[in-house]
Structure formats: structure tokens, C-alpha cells
Amino acid sequence: MFRTKLRVLRSHGIQYIKHLDEAVLPEIFRGRPILFDPEETRAAHVATVPDATTHLAENGDSKRTTDGRIASQAEIPEGETGKTTCFPEKHNNNGNSMPRTYDVIHRELAGLEALCPTGAITAVPFSLDLGRCLFCGECARRAPHLVQFTNDYHMATNDRLALNIVPGTESIKLDPDRVRREITRTFGHALKLREVCAGGEGSTEMELGASMNVNFDFGRYGIDFTASPRHADGLVITGPISANMARALEICYEAVAEPKILIVAGTDAISGGLFANSPAIDRRFLDRVQPDLYLPGNPVHPLTFIHGVMALTGRSFRKTNRKR
């Protein structure tokens, strides 16, 4: 019995990520996207994509030969690798037919707007709302010269508008000036959270649980989930808030003692996501209570959650804050 235990221990060794602030996700992970200015990519766009609507209608797929249909060479380059194959400078060698460009770019942006399953993309002015984005990456596949996803998981913010990214947005940060003073004052050393799933499909819940597991071990910073709202300093909402859970959520929030914080985790919780227009959800709770932290993701990666909560409570990963 002890020998078998020792074998398990030896096989696993040390599992925790020592420096959570240095953790890097693989390139393929779809984190914070970056947008490119449509005006700047216009010339290159003309050279590579003769008709935006054609390729949008055909899935931006330039190589598919099923049904005996061979797509034209001029179609959009493949974006599956997540790398830009279409930089403005490189393909600017046949800068003719300029009069068509505005039309083309406009139609392409409108195509992206129509394509997005949650309406996160706005064509004019070109922007992408991470509060509604489900990180499917479809826009980046169709138009890698306009949208690309990076592996940056730092997406937590306390400003809902900061989630609306535009060409040139290089990072998403938490605005320390907007953090209520009692949050850093009261929760700067330890924070106990209660999670309420209100229509969530289970994956964000599992990721929140995973942030406490042997690998991420968020508990090392005194941050933990409790079984009762009476023991908690704040609430984490996952899911779009189904109508059948609206009342229970409210009761649970009221049961948390003041001062308390509210975190909305996952795209569904921030905006309703796929369910924003569903007749079965009721998001009036969020009209009354202002969240302190928005965590985009589908689901939220444990590192997004960990970094978001650390920033919100003004904590540093390296030095232990001993001042009282």
C-alpha cells in the first residue's frame, strides 16, 4: 500500500507552476486579439483579394477541392497557422484599381460583422468587443490581415469599455484608479469567493476549479472558493444568468457581507454571449450591481482569472505583502 503510494508520488514529482506570472500559453491558444487598421491594409487587400464577398461566401478557403470546385488563387491566404501571410508592404506591388478599394474593404468588414456569431465585431468604426467574443477565431481565419489572435491571456479588466478593442489596442489592463478603495484595503491579503453558476455550461466552472488545483495552486495567495456566501468576500458569476436562476443569484449576492466584490467570469456572464437574445435569460441583476472585474474567455483560462484577481486586489506575484 505504501509502496504504491510512493510510486504515484515519484511519478508525479512537483506539479505546481512556480512562477505564475511567467506562465506562457502555446501559440495556438486564442487569447487577446489584435486588429489592424482597414485603411492601412487597403492596398494590400486589393492585391490579394479581388472580391471580398466572394471569399466570405466561400469560407475563405482557397484550397478546398471537394465537390470538384477549385477556388481561385487570388483568394485570401490561409490563416490557420495564425501567422500573417499578407502584410501591407509585401503585397503592395500592384497598387491599381484604387477606386474599388473602399467598397471592397467596406464589404469585407460588413461580412465579418455578419459572420460573428455573437455580434462582437462592429464594421464602422472597426472594433471587436471582447465582452462578446467567444474566441472561435473565425474572423482571423477569414481576414488575417484585419484580425489576429495572440496567446496573451491578460484580458481581465474592471472597465467594460476597455474590452472593446480597436486597431492599435496593444494590451488590456486593469485601471487601478477605478478600483474601489475598500477592495485593496480589505482584500489585499486574502480573498474568499463564492461562485454562482447561472446558466453556465460548466467549462468556466471547471476552469475556476482548476485554478485551485495542484498545478495552478491559486490558494497559495490566500485566495479561495468557499461553500457558503456567508463565508465569502465576493461573488463570481458564470453563465448568462438564466431567468430560473435570477432570483437565487440575487439572494446569494445579498447574503455576502459588505464590503463585497462582484466578478463576472466568461463571455456568457459579461454580455450574455450566445444567449444574449434568448428569451430564457434575465440579466436585470447586472443593471443594478456593477461588476468589479470582467474576465473574458470561452471558457476563462485559469491564468486569466488568477492574473485578474491579483491585479484587482493590488497584489504582486513575487513579494509577499507583510505590511498591515
Binding site: 504504491t4 503510494k5 478546398r64 456569431p117 453556465g200 450566445l274 471558457p299
Partner: protein
């Protein structure tokens, strides 16, 4: 008696005109005959016709002949009709859903209570706070209510126990808190990508299984013949999901009895597994991996290598954990002889998936109704006989290595086939047709039914998660157990709330 249509090639749609149709009386008789002969109901729902009448669709599975039987009937709302649940309790979630959302009334529906309190329920006076829980009078008895919010980071559901001392006499489970109107949203949009993502959101821990079921249903309606390579890739994705969730369940069961070594070791192995999925497709839950018509993430040599090394390591380390688990008497003392679901009960409630297999029922679509690459895998379902928590755990302990072996076999074959095609979101669907997607997810049998209108738009999309059958199994399993054993009984089933509530 009416004959149902036998449907064998699920990659082709059925024209609605070809479906056998009868009055409810003849249909009721046929259903009884089929259910008595051992066929089981995979889906059963009603859609409104013109003039207050409804069409009832029944999808039955025949495990012997590996086929599907489909029949339809007209039910008029005017007079109450006899219910099948009165004879076959396995039909209860289906008929309760019909009673809840239509004006059809059953004359003798036992347990005629709300199922998921959908937004379009006919009786708006029903709400989550006035659910008519069963109660027993008696001075020795007390009631314990748990939920809708539970102690852990899990989904909401309401449990009411009637206990005699510490012993549970009865458990009633009231769900519906997770209802998001997903079936309505599926037909409210023409954006195929949005539909595919909704399918992945049916249950986040089964994104690949539900995503694959949607993709297969749409591929059938669109007449898309997918390549063998795509079938292999989808099968690997399904098995990776199974391994990850079985690891999570093993860990959670160990955690619930305070066996920390098993818990943390399984957590670590699950992290390795889902990170391998992430390296393949960019998402730890495999969201975006399965799409209709093709895949954006064709398996590459690097992916093959990463899956092969990581999964063989996971298998070796998991077997060590299982070895230790079976050698630890304090673990066995909690799991063995606890939360029995007898075979006869499992059969009666129509249990599916690992819960049914733990009770000795051979319910595994991978062998009875093979899909994707399973036909070539010669999958041998794992079964146990005792039907207790230990049996449900043992199913997982044995399925993880089996699934990893399947993955290894499939990885061998990947390189022999041509690269898979790209997804298609614009294919026209066959008009006025019906298609069925069947998948054995890690939790059990998933069934999606799609019906198109005369313009080829999705008119009806009905989803069945395996949890719909199995929740009653949990309620039966805790009878006679100490209430403190409820968490491990619950974890051993690990059913989906959102998959049930939709």
C-alpha cells in the same frame, strides 16, 4: 399496428414524406410493442402543427440490428391521451417535457411535474420556487433541501431528501435552473457557425461530443460525405475528451473522501490531457475542434507526436494511481457497496453511458451504433456488475487505458489517410427532411434530431443529453444510503445540469 421506418445509414437524411405516420392510438400500440421487445427510446418529442394539433416523433434504438427506428403520430390536444410512462418509466422525461410545453394532456402520466421549466412553458404559474416536491408525513422523518446553489463550483439544481435519521428514504431532484432556450436559439439563426457554437455550449464538459453530434446531423442534411481522416480526427477528439473527464471524475471522487493523493495526481493528469487538446486546437475543452464538413485543425505530425507521448505517460501514471486506489482499504470502504443502481432499475429508467455499464447493461453506441472511426476499431464495451459507486469508478479506471489505446491505434492510421477538408458553413440543407446525430459521449448517448422546412432552413432542432435519462438513476441509487454518502454517489454519476435543462 404501425410499422416504424428502419434507418440504418445515418449519413443520409430522411424525407419527411417517407416517415410512417399514424394516429396516436396505433402509434401508442407500436411503441408499446417495440419497447417491450427491448428497443430503447433515444428521443421522443412533439412539434406543433397547424390548428392546435401536434406531431410526435419517436426515435428508437435497436441494439441487436444496430439500426434506428423512427415513427410519427398526430396528437390532438382536445382529449387526454394515454401515457407510455405509466408502463415504461424510461419515457418519463420525454412525456413530462411534452406535457410542460404543449397543450397535449396525458390521462395517466405518473409524476406529472415540471421537468425543466422552459421559458415557453404552458403553465406560467410554475416557477423554480414552487416545485411540488413529494413529501411523507411522519414524526421520525425530516427533510433536507440542497440547492439550487451547491457548495462546490458546480452548476445549480435543487435536491430534496426525505430522511429517517441519517438514512435517505427518498430523493427528488428538481432541475431547470440552467434553462437557456438553446433549442429555440438553434432554429432562430441561419448562421451555421453560431449553431455549431451553440451545440458546443449545450454542455461545456462535452463540447466535443455535442459539437460532433451537431456536425454529423448537419453533414447528413447537407449530404456532405466526410473523409476517413476527418472521422479519425473526430474520434481522437472524442476519446481525448473521455479521458480528460474520466480523470476529472476519478480525482473528484478521491477528493470527496479525503483521499488527497488520488485527487491531486488525477488533477495533474487531467491538466496534461486538456493541455494536449489545447496544443492541438487552442482550447482546453476542444471548442472549435469539430465543425460541420471538416476541421480547421487537421492533425499534423507534431500533434501526433505530442498526443502520443503525453497520453502514453498519462496511461502509465493513471494505472499507478488505480493500482494504489485498489490497494487502499480506506478508499474501498467508502466506495464499495454504496449507491447501488441495480440492473433491473437501470433497465427500467433507460440508463445510458458509464452509469448503465456499471450496472451490467451493455449500453455503448460505439459498439451498437458505430459512428466516425469506431466501426473499424472493434470497440469492446467495458461493463461491471455491481452497480455501486465502486463499479462506476471502475468503469472509468478501465475506460481510460482503453481510450488511450484507441487513440494510439487511430494515430497510427492518421498518417495513412489524406488530410481532412475544411469546414463548410454554407451548404444548403435538404428541404423537408430529418436527420439524426448519435454520439457516445463520455457521459453516454447523445442524440440530436434536426428537421428542415420546405426551404431547407432548420425548423426543429431537438437535443438529448444522456443526463436526461440518468438523473433518475442517481435518485434511486441514494435510497437507503446515509445522506453523507450523497456527494460520492452524485460524483460517481457526474451528470450535466445544463445538458438536461438546455
Amino acid at each position: 399496428m404501425q410499422q416504424f421506418l428502419t434507418y440504418t445509414d445515418r449519413s443520409c437524411p430522411i424525407r419527411l414524406a417517407e416517415l410512417p405516420h399514424a394516429e396516436y392510438t396505433a402509434f401508442f400500440e407500436t411503441m408499446q410493442t417495440y419497447l417491450a421487445s427491448g428497443l430503447r427510446c433515444a428521443h421522443y418529442f412533439a412539434t406543433p402543427d397547424h390548428g392546435g394539433a401536434y406531431t410526435i416523433y419517436a426515435v428508437l434504438l435497436d441494439d441487436e440490428t444496430h439500426s434506428v427506428r423512427i415513427g410519427t403520430a398526430t396528437a390532438v390536444a382536445a382529449a387526454p391521451i394515454p401515457s407510455l410512462t405509466a408502463i415504461y418509466p424510461a419515457m418519463h422525461p420525454f412525456e413530462r417535457a411534452i406535457a410542460e410545453t404543449t397543450t397535449i394532456r396525458y390521462a395517466d402520466l405518473p409524476w406529472d411535474k415540471p421537468l425543466r421549466l422552459p421559458y415557453d412553458r404552458t403553465d406560467r404559474s410554475q416557477n423554480p420556487f414552487n416545485y411540488p416536491f413529494y413529501s411523507i408525513e411522519g414524526e421520525a422523518l425530516h427533510e433536507v433541501h440542497v440547492g439550487p446553489i451547491h457548495a462546490g463550483i458546480i452548476e445549480p439544481g435543487s435536491f430534496r431528501f426525505i430522511c429517517n435519521g441519517e438514512r435517505v428514504l427518498h430523493l427528488e431532484i428538481a432541475l431547470g435552473f440552467q434553462h437557456r432556450g438553446i433549442e429555440h436559439l438553434m432554429t432562430a439563426t441561419d448562421n451555421r457557425l453560431r449553431q455549431a457554437m451553440l451545440a458546443e455550449a449545450i454542455a461545456g464538459d462535452s463540447s466535443v461530443s455535442h459539437g460532433r453530434t451537431f456536425a454529423a446531423t448537419i453533414d447528413a442534411l447537407a449530404g456532405v460525405q466526410t473523409s476517413p481522416r476527418l472521422a479519425i480526427e473526430r474520434t481522437i477528439a472524442l476519446e481525448m475528451e473521455r479521458v480528460a473527464m474520466h480523470l476529472a471524475d476519478t480525482g473528484a471522487l478521491c477528493g470527496d473522501i479525503g483521499y488527497q493523493l488520488g485527487q491531486v495526481a488525477c488533477e495533474a493528469l487531467r491538466t496534461i490531457t486538456i493541455n494536449t487538446t489545447q496544443r492541438w486546437c487552442g482550447n482546453r475543452f476542444g471548442k472549435g475542434l469539430v465543425r460541420p464538413g471538416g476541421s480547421y485543425f487537421p492533425i499534423t505530425a507534431a500533434t501526433v507526436e505530442s498526443i502520443r507521448t503525453q497520453m502514453s505517460d498519462v496511461k502509465r501514471r493513471y494505472l499507478e494511481i488505480v493500482n494504489n486506489l485498489h490497494a487502499t482499504p480506506s478508499v474501498l470502504a467508502r466506495f464499495e457497496d454504496c449507491g447501488h443502481l441495480e440492473m433491473i432499475q437501470a433497465e427500467a429508467i433507460g440508463a445510458v453511458g458509464p452509469a448503465a455499464r456499471a450496472s451490467g447493461l451493455l449500453r455503448d453506441l460505439r459498439s451498437t451504433h458505430p459512428f466516425e472511426a469506431y466501426a473499424d476499431l472493434a470497440h469492446e464495451p467495458v461493463t461491471e456488475t455491481t452497480g455501486d459507486v465502486m463499479a462506476r469508478l471502475n468503469i472509468r479506471c478501465r475506460e481510460v487505458p482503453q481510450s488511450i489505446d484507441h487513440i494510439m491505434t487511430l494515430l497510427e492510421r492518421v498518417t495513412e489517410t489524406k488530410p481532412s477538408e475544411k469546414p463548410v458553413f454554407t451548404q444548403a440543407l435538404a428541404p423537408a427532411s430529418l436527420a439524426i446525430g448519435l454520439t457516445e459521449g463520455w457521459r453516454g448517448e447523445i442524440c440530436h434530431v434536426a428537421i428542415t422546412d420546405s426551404d431547407g432552413r432548420l425548423a426543429v432542432y431537438r437535443i438529448k443529453d444522456p443526463s436526461l435519462h440518468n438523473w433518475l438513476g442517481l435518485a434511486l441509487a441514494v435510497r437507503g444510503e446515509g445522506i453523507s454518502d450523497f456527494p460520492i454517489c452524485n460524483k460517481s454519476f457526474n451528470l450535466s445540469y445544463c445538458g438536461h435543462d438546455l
